[in-house]
């Protein structure tokens, strides 16, 4: 038996105006693994998830769930998945329990009353489960969302920003039962825009930015003294030389542009031994370089480098 629960290959979503909001995303999920999908708001996390669960059409790419092709065996794939997509929504004129009963009935394998109670207990909603969902707080809805997703014991759990609206205690509980599920062999894909959460919750993270997957990192190897020899390099050049710089960077194998910052900076990812080569090439191309700065990659650095621009924009917007 294969240990791969899900394989995503070249997933792409193009919306009107030829804009690609997810571009060539590929990753693999192993059995019992908690995989984080990390990226700032608007990165394309929800869009990726929507394609995997079949809410929107893929423009390109393939998804395999337990080896089955989503395009050919859609129903079988869906049976194996439990999901929360974006904000959890419920029939708020009914009780939490009645809502769960609806979803239980839609499962292909029957769900007993004991299983219902067990799940309600697990997400700590026993006290409020007979109340109308109308009265629930966002955090309680999140818990109910998790409950409906795990009710049928899916092999693959997909949670889109499940910590939204949860208090620290709730987040901790979520972490604990995801780990519990993982020990039972259930894999979880969990998206978030908060790195600190992902670091505590996940085994690995896929980092997404502007629709592209820019990194897949193993949390443990990226702890502070990680031995990765990849560097994040920021390079500052004269404004007028920006285009030449980009051309030069593209000529050097093994250097990838993480992003361009302001109008005179590039953030790059590369091996340490390529730094002198790049420097020499830039000099040859007569680019005025004001500074090259490099540091060891840690997930945090990388993520902050990625999101710093967004932070600045957000602050300006306020």
């Amino acid at each position: 038996m294969s240990d791969t629960v899900m394989e995503v290959k070249g997933l792409t979503k193009q919306v009107s105006g030829k804009k690609r909001i997810v571009h060539d995303a590929s990753f693999v999920m192993n059995k019992g693994e908690i995989l984080g999908l990390l990226g700032p708001n608007g990165a394309g996390k929800t869009t990726t998830i929507r394609m995997i669960v079949g809410l929107i059409n893929k423009t390109e790419g393939k998804v395999f769930i337990n080896g089955a092709d989503l395009d050919k065996e859609g129903l079988a794939c869906k049976s194996d998945i439990g999901a929360i997509v974006e904000n959890p929504s419920f029939y708020d004129y009914m009780s939490g329990y009645k809502n769960l009963q609806l979803y239980a009935r839609m499962s292909k394998n029957p769900i007993t009353k004991e299983r219902m109670d067990e799940v309600v207990e697990l997400v700590k909603l026993s006290h409020a489960i007979q109340d109308k969902v109308k009265k629930y707080s966002l955090g309680m809805k999140q818990r109910l969302g998790v409950a409906q997703a795990i009710l049928h014991k899916p092999a693959l759990l997909i949670l889109d920003e499940p910590t939204n609206g949860l208090d620290p205690k709730g987040i901790r509980e979520l972490r604990d039962y995801l780990r519990q599920l993982a020990n039972q062999g259930i894999s979880t894909l969990v998206s978030s825009h908060l790195l600190s959460e992902m670091q505590l919750m996940c085994d690995r993270v896929v980092i997404m930015e502007k629709g592209k997957i820019i990194d897949v990192s193993n949390i443990s190897s990226l702890s502070e003294n990680g031995n990765s020899d990849k560097l994040i390099v920021s390079i500052e050049v004269k404004k007028e030389h920006l285009q030449q710089t980009e051309q030069v960077i593209k000529m050097v194998d093994g250097v990838s542009i993480v992003k361009q910052e302001n109008d005179h900076m590039f953030i790059l990812e590369m091996n340490q031994n390529l730094v002198p080569t790049l420097n020499r090439k830039l000099v040859e191309a007569e680019v005025d370089v004001y500074g090259i700065e490099s540091k060891k990659t840690s997930l945090e650095d990388k993520f902050l480098a990625l999101t710093s621009e967004d932070n600045v924009q957000m602050k300006e917007g306020q």
């Binding site: 929507r50 669960v53 079949g54 809410l55 929107i56 059409n57 129903l75 079988a76 869906k78 049976s79 998945i81 999901a83 997509v85 974006e86 904000n87 929504s89 419920f90 029939y91 708020d92 004129y93 009914m94 009645k98 609806l102 979803y103 009935r105 839609m106 499962s107 292909k108 409906q148």
Partner: protein
């Protein structure tokens, strides 16, 4: 599929609106009975045979008017019509003032049924759009069912709801009719007036099932139109608004049928055919347009609406 149907049915009856609609039908029916009773109270409960005398008296009154001659043409015309109607009633042996629960049912059920159409159209146009609107649709579509199954279960639910309302209406009607007007024979004789032709003398047993059946088909068509259109909209309010607009504008536009009947294309659009109950009384609603033709046209439109919206929903991106 059974699970989906059951779920839709449960969701429907957990909404206050559903019970409100059902209660409204009962209350409107009761209200109508009182209004009806206050209008006809004075002319019922005559002795046996008195009604023939009354009709004959009326005939001779009208004949006097004709003989003495009037300047007003319309008065003459009306007098002639009254005489003719009364003679026909006498000949058919129908007491125009006779009232019992069956005659009451035949005369009043369809006027309250328009509320059923309205309520059903509201439910039909919100059952999909509300779930897209409030985000619960995504929870349905990630389950191991085809999208068309989700749609079908909702459609069947709407139709079943309209049947429940119909049955409730008829039961309330019979109950009120029996209390106020006493029991009568299902084959009581009645006169039917029609917009398209002269009066028709028949029995409740002959006409009532046809009226209800045709009314139901007519309503089904409105359900199909509003259900299909609502799928195109994300907003529940918009979907319901447009459907109600279509419902009301249909009867307004049908007022122009006489003007447009001569144009070659008019009978090929669905509008004039959405008056099926007329066929209970007349054979043709326009020259050369009978029930077979109307049902065919409506069926073609129904398939087109269902097909187009179904295909659209099957492929739709649920953002």
């Amino acid at each position: 599929m059974g699970a989906l149907l059951k779920n839709e049915w449960i969701k429907l009856w957990n909404k206050k609106q559903t019970w409100f609609f059902l209660g409204a039908i009962v209350i409107i029916m009761i209200g109508l009975t009182f209004i009806y009773q206050s209008f006809i109270a004075d002319s019922t409960n005559q002795g046996e045979g008195e009604w023939t005398i009354e009709l004959e008296t009326e005939i001779s009154e009208q004949e006097e008017i004709l003989e003495s001659g009037t300047d007003e043409e319309w008065m003459e015309a009306q007098a002639e019509q009254t005489i003719q109607e009364n003679e026909e009633l006498l000949e058919a042996g129908i007491n125009p003032n006779e009232m019992n629960n069956m005659i009451f049912m035949n005369e009043t059920v369809l006027s309250v049924a328009s509320f059923i159409t309205l309520f059903t159209v509201i439910v039909a146009s919100s059952i999909v759009s509300s779930e897209i609107d409030n985000g619960t649709m995504k929870h349905l579509l990630i389950r191991p069912y085809e999208r068309w199954q989700v749609l079908l279960s909702k459609f069947i639910t709407v139709v079943a709801f309209s049947i429940v309302m119909m049955v409730t209406l008829i039961l309330t009607n019979i109950l009120m009719g029996t209390i106020f007007f006493g029991t009568g024979s299902y084959s009581s004789q009645v006169m039917e007036m029609s917009f398209h032709g002269g009066p028709l003398y028949t029995t409740v047993a002959n006409i009532f099932p046809a009226k209800i059946g045709l009314y139901f088909l007519n309503m089904l068509m409105f359900v199909i139109i509003s259900f299909s259109l609502s799928i195109l909209f994300k907003s529940q309010t918009l979907a319901v608004g447009i459907s109600i607009f279509i419902l009301f504008s249909t009867s307004v536009l049908q007022g122009f049928s006489l003007l447009l009947a001569d144009t070659a294309w008019y009978k090929f659009i669905f509008l004039p055919h959405l008056d099926l109950p007329a066929y209970a009384v007349v054979d043709e609603i326009m020259p050369g347009v009978g029930i077979g033709f109307s049902l065919t046209i409506l069926a073609i439109y129904a398939i087109a609406f269902i097909g187009a919206s179904g295909i659209y929903f099957q492929k739709k991106d649920l953002m």
